[in-house]
Symmetry: C2
């Protein structure tokens, strides 16, 4: 019995039909997570936006749309992609590091916009004077693990630094803009105390922008991918948010609509990679046993990039209790192409206790729904991108994305 | 005056014609590096193979072919790609972590093959009994910086562990294979003492495989990307190689042909990324000044992945002596998308002293010829892959790869 939602006979069927490696998303889990996100406590209304950069395939966008979620786009290209998938412009909000050239046209079509820098706010004002706008702030606080991975605080370039509020007001006044939305995203954390501090900082900004009607807290709801890792309890971190919003309403007479933008929370644990062991290596008594998969950083980059931990399971026709320590590596000729870095130390290898796997055995990499099929070294070593399928609630599998053809990798060459 | 080989007026012209971001390869530097590689000391003959995974664009492969280089392919897909670019099968050698299904056909067409695992050797023997083969060993020693990034030694899965020599001999005998080539790649290093040790280890293997005629030392010739970083002197590291080969010839009566497989050495410093500052951010007195480029980990992943250092230059129409500390970041909504990690510490930011750059200014990222256009988070945040051009020796630019169309990112979706 697999703790990941795929049985051996399903793996055989999938490998026959689509080959490996293969991304599999689980419709039931996706819909469950949507319901959890939509139950985020919000006294004056809630919009949940899927952070589509986590996995932008049209079939997934449509599923989230059906569930009543809106879209958080991170680039102009993502807006076009969502529109092409059938998402109405009114359901899309743009918060980007790079303002698309045609942003004004997109806003006129109905896309909501959060200015993420003073320059963006100025260009927006010049193009669309007299209109409504959102403002993304960096509230001066983040919940990321390190200086580098922090998305709030002085080491982050995301949003307008909170001390620039006066400049924001000047630009708003200059172009007769109405700031209707306060946005800030402070990273992946599940600590209610941190959320309370952030909400309180944001509400201080909302207090000084009296036209604000919407508070957008971004995403960053951490989920446990590995056994024992905690998953953010939205009800729990939502409580201080509710309290802060209520006090704010009492004090300022404004009932702020809440927006959240989860990516990881919605899809990380609803996606797995089905791969196969295609070779093994052994470096002797002082070394390791290596399982080489037919996938790698070309599909799942997070272990190499962040030392991220993903569950790994060997799917065998006849399961055994036996365990053997193995380092799991990818198929690229690249020393960093590993699935089992030491937790918190991407520079070291950490063998996993796995059933004794041989060549041809199926391996499932769990927790790869978010930031894998899309944030990977796709095409490296000229490996084509794998297909994506949806495991349907009602049984069976639907193809969301076909396997890339090798010829597509060179299609733009002259 | 730019230390990188692109002038302001050229940048203007390139941006007009192709847009930014844009990879620019320098033909003169590429040919220079080819000549340096071809001058590697080798008393009994030399074959230089370009490790095409470093940058597999057809125009580059053809240039290396014209210069007399052969090809080192890391996957079956790379072989197909090289063949499609016009490289004869006889000029290609395969050393891969994942044996392609059709390897026997490729070998019959003329591709040389180095078995990189016992399993690969066995499958090769089964498919092509009585033929010649190369054997890639892990000599038990590497020159990589950390446990993770080491490509030789017990923490590496590349090649057949040197203690398995008897098993290798058994398989060779079972399938009547002739081991004509000993291969080992021990990583990026420029220390002659390390090369001497490795050559001596490999020659011990060659001694016990008396049919070996070729010694392949792989690649791993480190180049300095940043000012002050040393570049491997091939003449210097070649000297102990020559001595070892000569002693071996005297002792064993075999004059071994030498193969090397550089990637980085040939192309890293011949490639730059032309980008533009598209926004700036400032996080106050305790924070940083950020330059946001119109490129990022979607083009250059090495800083995020390995904390790699690349030269960064601001190209201004009227250069100034003034310098300002700035953190350079990419355009993705991803906290790890940075160009200026601290040297040796990818978790920390290290501002660079740069001319005061504003929105619209050109920025050159140097040292990106190898493992950038191909080992990147292409398509993340739905940004299309940039074009690649060659700056010709004779003046002018040739397009090698067109900019990807946004529609191509979703072409395989259902």
């Amino acid at each position: 019995m697999s703790s990941l939602p795929l049985q051996h006979e399903e793996a055989v069927r999938l490998a026959d039909e689509f080959g490996t490696p293969l991304f599999v998303y689980d419709e039931a889990r996706l819909r469950e997570q949507c319901e959890r996100a939509l139950a985020f406590p919000a006294p004056y209304g809630l919009t949940v936006r899927y952070a589509m950069k986590a996995a932008p395939t049209a079939g997934l966008l449509r599923l989230f749309h059906q569930q009543g979620l809106h879209i958080d786009a991170s680039s102009g290209f993502e807006i076009d992609r969502a529109r092409a998938a059938g998402i109405p412009a009114e359901n899309i909000s743009l918060s980007t590091q790079e303002l698309p050239v045609d942003f004004a046209e997109k806003v006129r079509e109905g896309v909501a916009f959060n200015a993420c820098s003073l320059e963006q706010l100025r260009r927006y004002g010049e193009a669309l004077p007299g209109s409504e706008v959102g403002v993304r702030f960096n509230p001066g606080l983040g919940s990321g693990g390190t200086n580098r991975t922090n998305v709030g605080g002085p080491a982050s370039s995301f949003g307008i630094w909170h001390e620039s509020l006066d400049l924001v007001k000047e630009i708003l006044a200059e172009f007769d803009l109405t700031a209707v939305r306060i946005h800030s995203h402070i990273g992946s954390g599940g600590d209610p105390a941190v959320w309370q501090r952030v909400v309180s900082l944001n509400l201080r900004l909302a207090a000084s922008l009296p036209t604000a009607k919407i508070l957008n807290l971004g995403g960053g709801f951490k989920v446990g991918r590995m056994p024992g890792e905690p998953t953010t309890d939205l009800q729990k971190i939502g409580q201080p948010v509710v309290e802060e919003l209520r006090s704010f309403a009492q004090e300022h007479g404004r009932e702020l609509h809440l927006e959240i933008e989860p990516g990881t929370f919605l899809i990380a644990n609803a996606g797995l990679l089905l791969a196969r062991v295609q070779d093994v290596a052994d470096t002797g008594a002082e070394g390791y046993r290596f399982l080489k998969l037919d996938a790698g950083m070309t599909e799942v980059l997070r272990p190499s990039l962040y030392g991220a931990q993903h569950p790994i399971e060997v799917l065998q026709a006849s399961p055994t209790e036996k365990r053997e320590a193995a380092v799991v590596v990818g198929h690229c000729c690249e020393s960093g192409d590993i699935f089992t870095p030491a937790p918190g130390d991407p520079e070291a290898l950490a063998p996993r206790a796995l059933p004794p796997a041989g060549i041809g055995d199926f391996v499932l990499i769990g927790g790869v729904g978010a930031y894998c099929s899309t944030m990977c070294a796709a095409g490296y070593n000229s490996f084509p991108a794998p297909p994506e399928v949806l495991k349907k609630r009602t049984g069976g599998f639907t193809l969301l994305r076909k396997r890339q053809l090798a010829a597509q990798l060179t299609a733009n060459e002259c």
